[in-house]
């Protein structure tokens, strides 16, 4: 006898209650926003939310089906939802693999600029006791090769690193030599103001595929005000330097970073235009680090959170228009946040991680051998506060530095699941913790969320991105995906010309 076919009702759970799976919620533009540890999210109306919690949400409602498919509720055996959630959570934490990937070598403290927001002492060119020695560099490379990460980035910072180019050369060649046995993928980055670039240096950079990163704060008016040189031609030098580097290393061989100061805040469009004009396909809108020299010169560079957010919104809106008109320009901070929001994947951006990327993501080796949890930690030390000094390369071992009390305290203090204000936040998976910023601005590593700039700006930017993505402008959705997928928006998927 042939087997019968059963109707759909035969397979639907009958009268089964549903179990709530773990999630967090917040009020967002008059609705309830829910998110879980996998970063999946859902918008519900308030009545729907109430019935969800009461256990009376209707099985046939679209909200129910969405919540079930996204693992906010379960009405069957828990085995599969739990396994899927566990896998997704592990994926979101994959940035932990390999431990510290970014190793910053401060090859010299000397500098020829005196930027108002710089946290480095203004030491002039003739004090060579502020240079890193080969012995220190060797100990730093010992650490790099002790770390398990298969892919590492070695970044040269300063002062102005090119004032100690010979040591950069040494570190690159020595790292490559040691790597012949180890087989890591090493990326080299040189941050520089480009004033000292010459053909010999460019030849070296090209040969060893060293990326160049420079500062471009905006058009000359802004850039020069932020970064005064005695002869006051910083912007021009930068642009000429960029052109020169591009000729030697290719168009994408140099990238630019901006620092936002009070002056910048009034000119978002001009800054974006500057980046477009000079052929950059990305711009990173990040707030100034609110301490170090910034604290000292707060009159010039301090700003209210709301001013920064206004700047960010205007700049992002303008960037969207620039893209709409056909120019490819990615905003990197949005790209990072959107990757966390829209994809199952993690990002490697150390400043927006939990536990924080300090030490476990990035480490700084200062010219004198002192190791720090981050660039900001080093700057605090320059101001007399050595709370986040991990040790010294000449005196301490790998486990002292990477597993010592400072490292552990930073990790413990930066797990968002246990931080007041973060523990219940619906944006938890998209955000991170910065214990060093907390310490510098609020007095302790845990921080005070209601008055935290870190929290305020991330919360608002995340909300802004959600509003844009779920707004009615389809182009914005495709643009955001083009940023996440790192392809031009016209190549997002194949099309046939009409």
């Amino acid at each position: 006898m042939q087997e019968q076919f059963h109707p759909a009702t035969f397979f639907a759970p009958e009268g089964a209650k549903y179990t709530l799976l773990p999630f967090r919620f917040m009020d967002f533009d008059g609705r309830r926003f829910l998110a879980n540890d996998a970063g999946q999210y859902c918008f519900l109306d308030s009545p729907e939310f109430t019935t969800l919690l009461d256990g009376t949400l209707s099985r046939t409602s679209p909200a129910y089906m969405e919540l079930k498919a996204k693992h906010f509720i379960s009405d069957t055996a828990l085995r599969v939802p739990l396994r899927l959630l566990a896998t997704k959570i592990r994926t979101k934490r994959s940035f932990l693999d390999g431990f510290t990937r970014l190793h910053i070598f401060v090859v010299t403290l000397r500098c020829d600029h005196s930027c108002q927001y710089c946290q480095v002492s203004r030491v002039t060119a003739d004090r060579s006791r502020y240079d890193m020695s080969r012995e220190t560099a060797d100990r730093g490379l010992d650490m790099v090769f002790r770390c398990p990460a298969r892919e590492v980035k070695i970044e040269f910072q300063g002062g102005e690193p090119l004032l100690n180019f010979e040591l950069i050369r040494y570190i690159v060649e020595e790292a490559e030599r040691r790597n012949e046995e180890q087989g890591k993928e090493i990326e080299f980055v040189l941050t520089t103001n480009l004033a000292l670039i010459d053909d010999e240096i460019l030849g070296f950079l090209r040969e060893h595929r060293v990326y160049v990163s420079t500062s471009l704060d905006g058009p000359a008016v802004i850039h020069n005000a932020n970064r005064p040189r005695p002869d006051r031609d910083s912007h021009d030098l930068t642009i000429r330097g960029i052109d020169r580097v591009r000729k030697a290393l290719g168009h994408d061989g140099v990238s630019a970073l901006m620092t936002t100061t009070r002056l910048s805040l009034a000119h978002p469009e001009a800054i974006v235009n500057e980046y477009v004009e000079h052929g950059f396909d990305h711009i990173f809108l990040r707030p100034i680090s609110p301490y170090g020299f910034a604290v000292r010169t707060r009159r010039h560079t301090g700003y209210e959170l709301s001013s920064f957010l206004e700047f960010y919104r205007r700049a992002l809106d303008y960037i969207i228009e620039v893209n709409r008109r056909g120019t490819v320009l990615t905003e990197i901070y949005a790209q990072i946040l959107l990757t966390k929001i829209l994809t199952p994947y993690a990002t490697g951006y150390v400043d927006l991680q939990s536990p924080s990327g300090a030490v476990i993501g990035a480490v700084v080796y200062n010219y004198d051998g002192d190791a720090y949890a981050s660039d900001e930690s080093r700057m605090l030390a320059e101001m007399g506060d050595r709370s986040f000094r991990l040790g010294n390369l000449h005196q301490d071992s790998y486990s002292d530095i990477f597993g010592g009390p400072v490292a552990r305290a930073l990790v413990e203090a930066s797990c968002v699941e246990s931080l007041p204000g973060c523990a219940d936040c619906a944006f938890q998976t998209y955000c991170g913790a910065d214990p060093i910023e907390n310490y510098a601005t609020q007095g302790d590593v845990i921080g005070h969320r209601p008055t935290s700039h870190f929290c305020g700006r991330n919360m608002e930017i995340i909300k802004h991105l959600f509003r844009l993505y779920h707004g009615s402008d389809e182009f914005v959705q495709r643009l955001f995906w083009s940023w996440v997928e790192r392809v031009p928006v016209s190549s997002l998927y194949p099309t046939i010309p009409d």
């Binding site: 087997e3 076919f5 059963h6 109707p7 759909a8 035969f10 397979f11 639907a12 759970p13 996998a38 999946q40 089906m65 969405e66 079930k68 498919a69 996204k70 069957t76 055996a77 085995r79 599969v80 396994r83 899927l84 896998t87 997704k88 994809t343 199952p344 495709r478 995906w481 997928e485 392809v487 190549s491 997002l492 998927y493 194949p494 099309t495 046939i496 010309p497 009409d498």
Partner: protein
């Protein structure tokens, strides 16, 4: 085109398998792999030396029966050629198991299945067909090593248990350059050990095509008519992925699966981004489909929005999407880049309106069974503009020597 026919058997005591050959095989040791193929004229070329061959196959009538197992007078299989593998049956039946010049060779592993899909095109039979295992192992020895791809299907291949692993292991040994594409519901792979053992074979080019019909368990279970099937399939997919086995998710589109297709795309992206491809497939008017037509039938043109939404959703997120068994006139233009000419040659036809169609060259056409029922929107389309025409030809590997079969930016 048929893969089975019947003639007159003489001396076929047991099912006899062999590669067809019109020319004598000089190496005596390998003659047992071959079945002499031909009419009296080509048989002359053998000069009467038929010793050692496995059998004789003559589509016309043998002038004189030899002592070898012989089947003759077989209609409808004129397409057979050298190195095609046939199975001669005592009844006079001839099964075509493998055609060297075809791109669509599929091996039926069993007719048994542990699901009972509403639209099954190979309705299960509860029979003991374990004899197939030995036949398959033998077949793998006879398949030409330069074959690009073989399919394994059923029924449900995993019901063979260890024997399935043996088959795959053998394929890895004797046909290392042949890709293996196995259709399975994946349920038995909820047993982690089975998945791990499959992964350990390290077949050089194995892909499992596993259907998933919804982001909701009860909807999927309804389509496959088995409670708990969804959970088993999802666990199977995870176990296979953890064991290093490549997976393609397949979705047959019909009335019971189209509505939540975009949500299924989201589910696949968030939970299984590691799959190699997602295939969105048209319904075959065959097998069980007729018994459940009212639940299943929807004009494909009506689910165009969901199809487009799902395809673009996945493509935007960097996943490979293929649309099979749909015609260009019934799907949105935005979906054309994903449409593949995929219907097995032996069941591929075009309809009358297609004669006037300007895009027929790059359209996959219909299942044979579509002549019974198909979209009301089938109609000839105008020729495309030169740019579009060029791109479409490239994608489908037509004409230009530098063509690839994959769209340029996927």
């Amino acid at each position: 085109m048929r893969l089975f026919s019947k003639g007159t058997a003489v001396g076929v005591a047991v099912p006899t398998m062999g590669k067809l050959t019109r020319k004598p095989v000089h190496d005596q040791a390998t003659r047992r792999d071959y079945i002499v193929y031909g009419d009296p004229a080509s048989l002359n070329g053998f000069n009467g030396d038929l010793s050692g061959y496995a059998g004789v196959y003559d589509p016309r009538t043998c002038a004189q029966p030899g002592s070898l197992p012989t089947v003759s007078g077989v209609p409808n299989l004129e397409y057979l050629d050298d190195d095609d593998v046939v199975l001669l049956l005592p009844s006079g039946g001839v099964n075509v198991l493998y055609r060297r010049r075809s791109e669509h060779n599929t091996i039926l592993t069993t007719e048994r299945c542990n699901s009972y899909c509403l639209m099954c095109s190979q309705p299960p039979r509860e029979v003991d067909d374990s004899h197939r295992i030995g036949e398959i192992l033998r077949l793998l020895e006879l398949v030409s090593p330069d074959t690009r791809e073989l399919g394994l299907s059923g029924g449900e291949p995993t019901l063979l248990g260890d024997d399935l692993l043996t088959i795959i292991r053998k394929a890895a040994d004797v046909l290392p350059r042949t890709a293996l594409h196995m259709l399975t519901n994946g349920r038995r792979f909820s047993d982690y050990t089975l998945a791990r053992r499959l992964g350990e074979i390290r077949h050089p080019d194995l892909m499992l095509g596993i259907p998933l019909y919804s982001d909701l368990d009860h909807r999927h279970d309804y389509v496959v008519q088995r409670r708990g099937a969804y959970d088993e399939t999802v666990e199977g997919i995870y176990n296979l992925a953890e064991s290093g086995v490549r997976i393609e998710i397949r979705v047959v589109l019909h009335r019971q699966t189209y509505e939540r297709l975009p949500q299924l795309a989201d589910f696949i992206y968030r939970n299984m981004p590691f799959v190699s491809q997602v295939a969105l497939m048209g319904l075959e008017m065959f097998g069980f489909t007729h018994r459940n037509l009212e639940e299943l039938w929807i004009d494909p043109a009506e689910y165009g929005p969901q199809l487009e939404s799902a395809a673009l959703f996945l493509a935007t997120r960097g996943m490979n999407v293929a649309v099979y068994n749909h015609q260009l006139c019934t799907i949105p233009r935005a979906v054309w880049p994903f449409a593949r000419k995929s219907i097995s040659d032996w069941k591929n036809v075009y309809l009358a309106p297609c004669d006037k169609c300007g895009v027929k060259d790059y359209c996959g056409g219909f299942f044979q069974s579509a002549t019974k029922r198909h979209s009301a929107f089938v109609r000839p389309l105008p020729r495309q503009n030169p740019d579009a025409d060029r791109i479409l030809r490239e994608w489908h590997g037509i004409k230009t020597s530098t063509a690839s079969s994959v769209p340029p930016n996927s």
